[in-house]
Amino acid sequence: MELAPPPDDAMLVVEHVSKWFGDLVAVSDVSFYVRPGVTALLGPNGAGKSTVLRMLAGLARPSSGTIRVLGMDPRSDPGAAANIGIAPQQEAVFGYLTALQFVRASAELQGVVEADTEARRVLDLVELDPDDDRRLPTYSKGMRQRVKLAQAIVHAPRVIMLDEPLSGLDPRQRLHMVELFHRLADEGRAVIVSSHVLEEVERFGSNVVVISKGRLAAEGDFREIRELMDDRPRRVRVRTDRVRELASALITRPGITGVEIRDEAIELNTIDGVDLALVIAPLAQAAGARLLEVRPLDEDLESVFRYLVAR
């Protein structure tokens, strides 16, 4: 399929990218653009987000397709690395370095002129003490996350990639980090943040790329994707003391596409979850039934992503 040309301000262009490891297809024919701002890479664990991020940073070579970061091939052009900062997901750190030594070395290797000053400044920015002389392995998970973020931004890259950066942070730190992502984005940088938590992504901003099972499930404005998710068909289990009477009443509703009785409970499919929420109580009352439980069976993120892929 021919892609529309990327917008003029696209900083990353991903075209028909696939990645396989032997027989395992990790990423399949993914195409999208990233513009300045915060872009969330959303998908369940094992969906291929980290593989996509690694390819965007040049750490992994696509099996097919092309990736351009600021017009450069991130894999073969070392110059691209000067414009990329990445905080990988893994927790491992250099056991013999302090936070300042680690971030300063990163700055030096990026050619930052005042490496020590810059390292101290970004450590301060992520709320860590530059003069803390403890080695990195003694840091908590949240502190390590912030050290990784500091080394990723110390050279002021135009493209910042953060793999699950909020994991291990407390709520206040999360808020602070999300604010920082937005400030970085407001300076014209592309900040790509991967996450498997829908509510987390909601705070990141409006651009979302949804990856599921290695495929592009959805892409675009978060609100539109949220609506798609809200409007999707749902399967709901209803427990009541009058199963057959309530089932007969429910099947007459236009949004309900299927009703079956299983294990003394009703399992129904609906394409209008909002309508079901509004009518189920009056219908039960009319049927003389007592509602014991109304529970969606496919509210987990996996189901949402499966729907988006199959759509």
């Binding site: 992994a60 250099f94 030096e108 290797l109 005042e114 301060d124 920015l125």
Partner: protein, 248 residues
């Protein structure tokens, strides 16, 4: 807490003169872990003890102690211990990303890893073997043993840095090369001996003594040129490995 967002830092692509020392310094700091220090002290102590035991027993005993154990076992074992993990551990611990994603050609990192391994190995082996030569008897052996150890470090470290970067079980391949190839197969024929680093080191050793040294069958020029050439080839292969492999 500062509220200033990161400003545009002035950065420029680093040349080898700046990047290699930074990489080397970082890698050097991770070299001497507690377990490695224990092994290095133990192996070095065996060299010194062997030299003490061979003292006064004539040139043959000294050459055996310094050649068969010192150059043929001690030097490659120290090299495999220090060189295979220098990139191999970074790959295994998924830390290589922090050094790889920098605006420098991959060979800078390959050279730095090699330098860090070779400098440490040389600082451990050369003084120990020179001390062994001084203890064991013939001071004339000192220069030859020191020179051969240095040549051994140059070749072995390059090969073992590559093995560590390329294979997850590089340490075992290195040990198998030393134990099986250099100590068994190289004795079976000249072809196998030619690709044994040990034979070049033994040739250097034999030049300084009247004792016949096993496997010292290489030409003098080859003994001096081949180990550095092996070093260059394997550093190049390490750079190619870093260029081509996916980084976790």
């Amino acid at each position: 807490m500062t509220t200033t967002p990161p400003r545009a830092a002035t950065s420029a692509r680093l040349g080898p003169g700046r990047s290699i020392p930074i990489f080397t310094r970082l890698l050097l700091r991770g070299q001497l872990t507690r377990s490695r220090v224990v092994w290095l002290v133990l192996l070095s102590a065996i060299v010194v003890v062997t030299a003490v035991v061979s003292r006064g027993s004539g040139d043959e005993a000294a050459v055996f102690a310094l050649g068969e154990f010192g150059l043929a076992a001690y030097v490659p074992l120290v090299a495999v211990l220090l060189a295979t993990p220098i990139l191999g551990d970074l790959v295994e611990d998924r830390l290589l990303v922090y050094l790889w994603l920098k605006p420098t050609p991959r060979w800078h990192l390959a050279v730095a890893a090699y330098l860090a391994a070779a400098v440490t190995a040389a600082l451990v082996t050369v003084p120990t073997l020179v001390l062994g030569a001084l203890i064991s008897s013939d001071p004339g052996l000192t220069l030859a043993v020191g020179g051969a150890a240095l040549l051994g470090v140059v070749a072995y470290c390059a090969a073992f840095v590559f093995l560590g970067a390329r294979f997850s079980f590089g340490l075992w391949i290195g040990l198998a090369y030393v134990a099986i190839w250099e100590n068994l197969l190289a004795r079976l024929g000249d072809g196998a001996a030619r690709i044994s680093i040990r034979s070049y080191l033994m040739t250097v050793l034999e030049r300084s003594t009247t004792v016949v040294v096993e496997l010292a069958d290489r030409a003098w020029a080859a003994a001096l040129i081949v180990p550095p050439a092996i070093g260059v080839v394997f550093v190049g292969l390490t750079a190619l490995t870093l260029q081509s492999r996916d980084i976790d």
